[in-house]
Symmetry: C2
Subunit: 140 residues, 2 copies
């Protein structure tokens, strides 16, 4: 373990997985526990406005959960950075959602920012955006 | 000055303004100096893919500058957080671009992440996304 941040990186990766597990489980209670318990939290859903504060952020997941029968995420290009008590994860989300027998597939790029608060890594910013155009050919 | 982060906040705000000034000035050299000088830098333009590393990130601004005669940003809802050597700014961008006498207006939400490196606040993540739908009515 030559990387001094090995434990932090593992914990951040676990917190990041817990966030997507809460989404897949449509679990509002888990989502409440994953987000930091202060009003500086911020969230942008693909194509959505900037939401600030726990009420709006957690409420927006309620809106999503209410209009979703199931949701599956395939994550790729995961990059994780730790700097002391702050960490960020960027990744590509392939999202499959089902509602009323309709299947919707989409791709998004996401930045997730975590803060270590009382020993726990909590999410403070989730910013996801739709993938609509490319600056570089795929694979470049 | 009861806020111990007052100086940091001022410097981060200045770095954030410098980023948008470099965009408005279509100044590739300024952009090179504002971004951290390591390959963990990441950038998502509105609707675009996740770009990683200085070559791709700075190259993407070159693509934008080459297809733009002028660019103006009106920033609002600016929120700034500092945690030690890491800071993030979220905001709404109203963007007016001109190219070949065509004017294009758009809105985006952005998360800008800064890292203090050798005393200078440098941008390490810029994530901007198109504003296409709302979870809450405006003004709520």
């Amino acid at each position: 373990m030559s990387d001094p941040h090995y434990t932090d990186r593992k914990q951040v990766a676990r917190a990041n997985r817990a966030f997507y597990a809460a989404l897949e489980d449509l679990d509002a209670g888990a989502m409440e526990r994953i987000w930091a318990d202060h009003d500086d939290v911020q969230c942008v859903h693909p194509g959505g406005e900037l939401l600030v504060g726990r009420r709006k952020v957690l409420g927006s997941f309620g809106v999503i959960f209410d209009s979703t029968d199931s949701m599956r995420f395939e994550l790729s290009d995961v990059l994780l950075q730790v700097r002391g008590p702050i960490a960020w994860v960027t990744l590509v989300e392939r999202i499959e959602t089902r509602f009323d027998d309709e299947v919707h597939e989409a791709s998004a790029t996401a930045t997730n920012l975590f803060e270590q608060i009382e020993g726990e890594w909590r999410i403070v910013v989730h910013h996801a955006s739709p993938l609509q155009r490319r600056f570089y050919p795929e694979g470049d």
